[in-house]
Every structure is written in structure tokens, then in C-alpha cells.
């Protein structure tokens, strides 16, 4: 029974992983990757590690991939074209690396399989694995591995500060502008992340002048006006 479950979830994981690298649309790749994460979470459950399985779903499938999906949606990423000349020398390189990795992996797997230190399956009835339960993880995390835990929280703080700094848009010096209600104001679309500044209001007499000041005179819409 556990063999059937393992083969099912392993097949699902490998299928979704292959789909991820074969798909051209990045949103479909993201959905396939979510499928990989959820099948890996199921494998962790069969390995008697329920806490890690739940954390995998919450952190990877529920937070990181949400971030990736948001980025794909907001940047409106298009499908990827694969020019043939590029693939001609990349695919053999990829196959070479894959063969090397497969050779190393099979050596390790062979060593593990024929090793005299064979262990029982984690959910074997004689000696079930108790290390996956929350109590055991909590005990380890707060006694023996306290220093890595604290360093990880510092790392998260660094990541938060870094992400905020990268996401900041306008410079610290605002341009010298003044908003006069009633005058012509032309603002950029703020949904478009290609906008390199905030919605800066400019006071001019005409739309053409405002476009010139904003640098939009060569924009597609500017040409089909008279």
C-alpha cells in the first residue's frame, strides 16, 4: 500500500516537474510547480513528517508561489519563444549535465541500497517514526538548534528590509511641480510597472505640452491624435 502511494505521488511530482519545464506560458509553469509542491507534501506525509508537509503547503504553495503568480500577472509575462539555434547547443549541454548528475546519483543510491545499515520504513508498525510530530520538532528547534533559529529570523528581517528597498519607486527628491486644479493634468498609468515614477502632476496649458514634458510624445496614442 505505501508502495502504491509512493509511486502515485512520485509520478505526479515528476509529471508536474516535466510539465513545468516544457510549458512555454509561465503561468502554466507556475501552476505545474504548485502541483509539484503539493505532491511533495503528500510524500512527506507518507514519510511520517506531517509538520513539514503542512509547512511546505503553507510556505511554498501558499506564499512563495502566490508571490510568483502575482508577479507573472502584474508584469503580464508573455509566452517564451524558443529559437532553434539556441536550443541546438543548449539541449546537448543539458543532457550532458543530466547524465553526469544521474551517474553521481546512481552511485549514491547504489551505496545506500546495499549498505548494511538498513532501516525500517518510517510508518512501520514495529518502530514508527516519532520525529515528525510537532512536539519533537519544537523540542529540537528551541533547545539544540536555537542559534540557527535566531539567525533565520534575522535573515527574514534582512529580506523584508531588502524587499522594501527594492520596491521603492520614487527618488527622495520630488520634482519641482505644483498642482493647480483645473489646469490640464496628465498622469501615467500607475498599474503599469513600467512607469518609472509616481503619478506626477504637471501644470501646463495643453495636453501636447504635458506629453512632451513627461516624455510620452512618442507613445503609440500620441501619434493618432491631430
Amino acid at each position: 500500500m505505501s508502495a502504491i502511494l509512493f509511486i502515485l505521488f512520485a509520478g505526479l511530482a515528476i509529471g508536474c516537474a516535466v510539465s513545468m519545464i516544457v510549458q512555454r506560458n509561465p503561468l502554466y509553469s507556475a501552476i505545474s510547480l504548485i502541483g509539484v509542491f503539493i505532491s511533495l507534501a503528500c510524500i512527506y506525509v507518507t514519510l511520517a513528517a506531517p509538520f513539514i508537509a503542512a509547512v511546505q503547503v503553507i510556505v511554498y504553495a501558499g506564499a512563495i508561489m502566490v508571490l510568483v503568480v502575482f508577479v507573472i500577472m502584474l508584469l503580464n509575462v508573455e509566452e517564451e519563444e524558443r529559437p532553434a539555434f539556441r536550443l541546438r547547443y543548449l539541449v546537448p549541454t543539458a543532457i550532458l549535465f543530466a547524465a553526469l548528475l544521474a551517474a553521481e546519483a546512481s552511485f549514491v543510491i547504489f551505496t545506500v541500497q546495499t549498505s548494511p545499515y538498513q532501516q525500517a520504513h518510517p510508518s512501520a508498525s514495529a518502530n514508527p517514526s516519532e520525529v515528525g510530530l510537532t512536539a519533537s520538532i519544537g523540542r529540537g528547534l528551541f533547545t539544540q538548534y536555537l542559534l540557527p533559529f535566531e539567525i533565520t529570523s534575522l535573515l527574514l528581517l534582512m529580506a523584508i528590509v531588502g524587499a522594501m528597498t527594492l520596491a521603492r519607486r520614487a527618488s527622495f527628491l520630488s520634482p519641482n511641480v505644483r498642482v493647480v486644479p483645473g489646469a490640464q493634468v496628465l498622469t501615467r498609468q500607475t498599474v503599469d510597472p513600467r512607469a518609472v515614477g509616481d503619478a506626477t502632476a504637471i501644470e501646463t496649458d495643453s495636453t501636447i505640452e504635458a506629453e512632451r514634458l513627461l516624455g510620452l510624445e512618442n507613445a503609440p496614442h500620441a501619434k493618432d491624435r491631430d
Binding site: L101, Q119, A120
Partner: protein
């Protein structure tokens, strides 16, 4: 069917996933897709850790997985911020076109 999965089965699965991730990083052009293949490689390593930890009844493997997940989350946040900044300046997410420092 009395066949139970051996430890080497999980290691083989992890190796296959890691290899697929490596192939993806080499072949793909879109930088977000490359990022996702890196996440796949991290997950393959997580699987190895959890498998060893469960078979040898040692909790250190799972604690390391916990920390790897946290690091991956931090890396995702900052990495996607960098990707958005690159996109804003170059208007393209193609790594083949990002071959000189000048925009």
C-alpha cells in the same frame, strides 16, 4: 503487496527532480521560469533531507528543511523584487537580452 518503499527510492526521486531542475535552468529563457526551476532544485534537496531524517529517526533533517524553507521564502521575496526592478529598466524578462550591464 508487502513491498515498502526503500530509502533509495526517495533518493532516486529526489535526484530525478533535481536533474529536471538543472535542465530547466539551462534551457529556459524567461528569468521567472529559471527562478522556479531553482525552487524545484531546493525542494528536491528538501526531500532528501526529510527521507534521511525519517528513515534514521533523527529530527535534525527536518529542522534543516524548516530552515531551508525559510531561506527559500526570503530569497523568493528579494529575488522577485530584483526581477521586477530589472523588468522596469529593460522592459524584457529575457536573460539572453540581458547580456550587457548598460540598459
Amino acid at each position: 503487496m508487502e513491498l515498502t518503499p526503500q530509502l533509495s527510492w526517495y533518493l532516486a526521486l529526489s535526484a530525478v527532480l533535481f536533474t529536471i531542475g538543472v535542465v530547466g535552468v539551462i534551457v529556459k529563457r524567461n528569468v521567472i521560469a529559471m527562478f522556479m526551476c531553482i525552487e524545484l532544485m531546493l525542494n528536491a534537496v528538501n526531500l532528501t533531507f526529510v527521507a534521511f531524517s525519517s528513515y534514521f529517526r533523527d529530527v535534525s533533517g527536518q529542522l534543516f528543511v524548516f530552515i531551508v524553507m525559510t531561506v527559500a521564502a526570503a530569497e523568493a521575496a528579494v529575488g522577485l523584487g530584483i526581477i521586477i526592478a530589472i523588468f522596469r529598466n529593460r522592459e524584457s524578462l529575457d536573460v539572453d537580452e540581458a547580456n550587457i550591464l548598460r540598459l
